[in-house]
């Protein structure tokens, strides 16, 4: 089915055309050969894809297009992989078809990275399968030797079984173990000791002894094979690592699809005639003149050419009210143009804009972050070194004590020491519990950017919240209306709504929501907005109507009102004030529950806001938060957090706006709630998709519980090692018993960790 009416160029949305520009095109499209011809392969991330029926729909939509050769859609990753013929169609055509079908197409960030990820994950899976299959088969060959009398198996059959085991352990050693060896080698070259070094040495010695025993059972190293222990050990270790890698990839994928956006395009006015041209933001330079439509973000810092503009700088400064700008004044990249198209002359692009400065501030803060991973290495390093030294000394002492049995006995003891401690229980203790916790959280829509963050969260003692959008709903609602005695409510609301419909101020928007119930709105003329004051209009019945601040309607506010937590808006006609509207920010429904839960856990709660004193104090009282700060700039928040950290506190920061980015990165652990700015999501350690504050307290309780289980696991692993190392050193632990002990301790640790998955009912 090939559609006979290909999309014409002019039916493609302007923003999608950017997908055909070479710099963008390269990122999500690769050139491949398919059945002898050169074709393109593109990956689109699709928003709005929820079920298997969507897959069918998407695949049908795309495969009906001319030039599309193959479509593969995946629900889990929300991706469509399209193979298409570049001589017959274009990427923007495909994207437009997807958009028309109701799915918002976003170009994948990097098709090369995605292909590499798939290749790596396939390789990891194959390594596990190889080791697992060889393990099963080696067991088959080994078990008879354990359970039969020595005379039952003829020497020939015995030799054959040995050779078969040896042969099947080769793929494990050469292929499956390769990650351990290369990591150990990398560690050695950097003069570090990692978990992979004792693992590699243990594997190496086991294979070495096993090989000698295979071909010379009567020789120095005895007849004991270690291939069964070797293969089981490798299989368990690889499986654990693969599961962790998959979890990480899934979380990263989810985050990717959130932060991915279409490449920004902008309308540039070229030359004297000001001919408009759509270009991508990267192509702008200083002194270019661009036109920015209402609702769009300014692509770069610039000077306003049009006579006036209203901008929303909430993401950058935390100021939630629209700012008025006149011709010649500055506008900031990343802030939004709220009304009518305006023209700006660009003064700064790229790295010099304030937007990029905030981004780099965030990056710096995140690299300065204390790394728990380093701490873990600091502890693990000496322990692993101790094991290596202990194994070496034990072997040396036994060599000296019993030279007649050397080198078989000393090596056997060294292997026993290495296996018995082989960091299995120890290395599983933490990740097993944390993986289980991450799984539980993921089920509740809480994404984790790294397992180590669970420990940080469990240790946090101060929870600092941002206000707007975190504790409160993002929009204002009317709390009270006061009317003049001769005015009825419907007239007042009707007038207010009619005049407010000409403004984008948050108060106007809230008033419009109120007026939706009105049957008909009064007719007004000559409507005019005076910045920072309000609106004026003419009504045939009421004369001049004003809506806005106290000053705007000509009264003096009483002295207490600047501190008032509520925003007040006045409506007046020629006779004076007709009505007063009071607005409140509303708390999210479960804010109080979340704060109470955290307080019961003896956490300090902070409220850090860029907003004015009044509303901040009000929200703090409603949410029962004791400590609040208002009118903070991003730098002030950062400073407060750093100060508290210097006093030894551990801070969990919960926020959403872009201006929270630096402080999210500085805090010991951070949450981004709901529809947070993409940038701060990418820096947050936890992403709460539902945006509910209770999910923060839920995550904390899981983290706390997880840490308890981790401690139990570590204690168990420590006791096990303390008991077993001396036994192995004195030679009372043959390697097979060491292997059993290792397996048993691992199982104990993993089953303890699995208790976390049943935690939900209790919390």
């Amino acid at each position: 089915m090939v559609s006979n009416s290909p999309l014409a160029s002019d039916s493609i949305d302007a923003d999608l055309l950017a997908l055909d520009q070479a710099s963008v095109f390269r990122t999500f499209t690769a050139t491949k050969s398919h059945k002898g011809t050169t074709v393109s392969e593109s990956i689109f991330l699709l928003k709005g894809m929820h079920c298997a029926v969507c897959i069918k729909h998407i695949e049908q939509t795309l495969s009906q297009l001319k030039g599309v050769l193959q479509v593969k859609t995946q629900l889990a990753t929300q991706q469509a992989r399209v193979l298409w013929d570049p001589t017959q169609t274009r990427a923007s055509f495909l994207a437009q078809a997807l958009r028309n079908a109701g799915y918002e197409p976003l170009p994948a960030r990097s098709i090369q990275a995605e292909d590499e990820r798939i290749r790596q994950s396939n390789l990891a899976l194959w390594r596990v399968l190889v080791s697992g299959f060889c393990m099963m088969q080696i067991m088959m060959y080994t078990v008879p030797a354990y359970y039969s009398n020595p005379t039952e198996i003829t020497p020939q059959i015995d030799a054959l079984l040995r050779w078969a085991s040896w042969l099947l352990s080769l793929p494990i050693l050469i292929f499956s173990c390769q990650p351990f060896f290369s990591a150990a080698w990398a560690d050695l070259r950097h003069r570090r000791i990692g978990m992979d070094l004792p693992v590699s040495i243990g594997i190496g010695i086991m294979f070495f002894i096993g090989t000698l025993a295979t071909f010379n059972p009567t020789g120095l190293f005895g007849s004991e094979l270690y291939f069964d222990s070797l293969s089981m050990f490798v299989f368990f270790l690889l499986s654990g690592r693969m599961l962790e890698q998959r979890l990480r990839a899934r979380t990263a994928g989810a985050v990717d699809s959130i932060i991915q956006r279409l490449p920004q395009t902008v309308e540039r006015l070229n030359g004297e005639n000001q001919t408009p041209e759509i270009v991508s933001v990267q192509m702008l330079s200083v002194n270019d003149i661009v036109r920015v439509k209402a609702g769009e973000a300014f692509p770069a810092d610039g000077i306003l050419i049009s006579s006036e503009a209203y901008v929303d700088e909430a993401l950058l400064t935390g100021e939630s009210r629209p700012q008025h700008r006149r011709a010649g004044q500055e506008v900031i990249a990343g802030s939004y143009n709220l009304r009518g198209p305006v023209q700006i002359k660009i003064t700064q692009v790229g790295n010099t804009t304030r937007f990029s400065k905030i981004v780099s501030l965030m990056e710096r803060a995140s690299t300065e972050k204390p790394k728990i991973a380093q701490l873990a290495d600091q502890i693990a390093g000496p322990f692993l070194l101790f094991i290596l030294v202990a194994a070496g000394i034990a072997a040396a002492v036994w060599w000296w004590l019993q030279p007649s049995q050397a080198p078989a006995l000393p090596l056997k003891i060294a292997v026993a020491v290495l296996i018995v401690t082989c960091p299995c229980a120890l290395s599983l203790a933490t990740p097993a519990a944390m993986l289980a916790a991450a799984g539980v959280m993921a089920k509740h829509g809480i994404l984790i950017q790294g397992l180590r963050n669970i420990e940080q969260l469990a240790h946090a003692d101060i929870f600092a919240f941002d206000k707007t959008g975190t504790l409160t709903e993002g929009s204002l609602i009317i709390s009270k209306v006061e009317l003049r005695s001769d005015t009825d409510q419907e007239t007042a609301i009707g007038l207010a709504t009619a005049i407010a419909s000409h403004s984008l101020h948050p108060i106007s928007i809230a008033l419009q929501a109120l007026g939706e119930k009105c049957k008909s709105l009064p007719f007004l003329t000559h409507i005019q907005e005076i910045p920072n004051r309000g609106l004026i209009g003419q009504s045939p019945e009421h004369g001049e109507i004003r809506l806005g601040s106290a000053a705007h309607v000509g009264i003096v506010e009483n002295s207490s009102s600047p501190k008032d937590e509520r925003l007040v808006c006045y409506l007046s006609d020629v006779k004076g004030i007709m009505a007063q509207f009071y607005f409140n920010e509303t708390l999210k429904t479960d804010t109080v529950a979340a704060i109470d839960t955290l307080k019961r856990e003896n956490k300090k709660i902070w409220l850090l806001s860029g907003d004015r004193d009044g509303p901040v104090g009000h929200v703090a009282r409603l949410a029962r938060i004791d400590q609040s700060w208002s009118q903070l700039q991003p730098q002030d928040k950062l400073h407060l957090v750093q100060q508290a950290q210097a006093q030894g506190h551990r801070i969990a920061m919960v926020g959403d706006g872009l201006n929270d980015g630096p402080v999210l990165a500085q805090a010991n652990v951070s949450f981004a709630l709901g529809k947070a700015a993409p940038l701060s999501q990418s820096y947050a350690d936890f992403i709460v998709l539902s945006g509910k504050p209770t999910d923060v307290s839920f995550a904390y309780r899981i983290a706390k519980h997880t840490l308890r289980i981790v401690k139990q696991n570590l204690a168990w692993a420590a006791i096990y090692n303390v008991l077993c190392i001396p036994l192995a050193v004195v030679g009372m632990f043959p390697p097979w018993l060491a292997g059993l002990g290792m397996a048993a301790s691992s199982i104990a640790v993993v089953s303890n960790a699995l208790r976390i998955t049943h935690l939900r009912e209790k919390l």
Partner: protein, 45 residues
């Protein structure tokens, strides 16, 4: 017991063959998406 002289080498070859088969399956992305393919038959028109 003599049959073991044939069966043991044969089992080794079989194991290697199965590993190769798994390798082919993994690298042709058979394990990439386990959910969609199973559900596809339920949504065929």
């Amino acid at each position: 017991m003599e049959s073991l002289f044939l069966l043991i080498p044969f089992s080794v070859l079989l194991a290697l063959a199965i590993i190769a088969l798994l390798g082919w399956a993994v690298h042709s992305n058979q394990f990439e998406d386990l959910d969609t393919e199973g559900e596809r038959i339920l949504h065929d028109d």
